[in-house]
Symmetry: C2
């Protein structure tokens, strides 16, 4: 593979890791792989995340067309977060990340 082609490929890896990276974004996407969730449901899944950080990361994922934010027309204002079609295309990758993570934990802890 020519060096130019290789550099484009490596840049793709960096871009994707930037999108799903950081401490929380991958975990937010993995949480939404189950089903659409309210803010507090996401917060409960993620444990120690602050509301401010969760809001900021959800906005980032929306900007990258991975998460959709929907205001529910009910008595109290309620917002639902879900994966977009494009966000759902990450599910196999996130599934592989989870599987590899479990294997890695065993190897590193041995």
């Amino acid at each position: 593979m020519k060096n130019k082609q290789k550099q484009v490929q490596l840049r793709d890896v960096q871009d994707v890791i930037d999108i799903i990276g950081g401490r929380w974004r991958g975990a937010i996407l993995a949480s939404l792989c189950d089903k659409e969730k309210r803010f507090n449901e996401l917060k409960r899944d993620l444990g120690s995340i602050t509301p401010r950080t969760l809001t900021k990361e959800l906005k980032y994922l929306e900007m990258n067309k991975l998460v959709c934010r929907e205001v529910e027309a009910s008595s109290a204002v309620s917002v639902l977060y879900s994966l977009t079609k494009h966000g759902k295309s990450l599910e196999p990758l996130i599934g592989q990340i989870v599987a590899w993570g479990q294997k890695h934990r065993k190897i590193v802890l041995d």
Copy 2:
């Protein structure tokens, strides 16, 4: 899925993204997916990385049992870096990251 189980799964996602994350680690692993490489070959693939950062990230990947460092018994001291068996188990995941990255670029640029 119970919340406890979900939190373990999300922590796995965070751990893996921590290992392959940052600006360079995923790209270093992807570069080594081709073949074993010398320091300068890696540096040429990665473009703007500094020698100091490349050294630091390679040590981190070695510590996580993903990369192996071998000193070649030849006249001039020459060091070869390669993926360990465990490191090679990342190849399908990195392949999916590259493929998803190419698709994502088209969607975000449209």
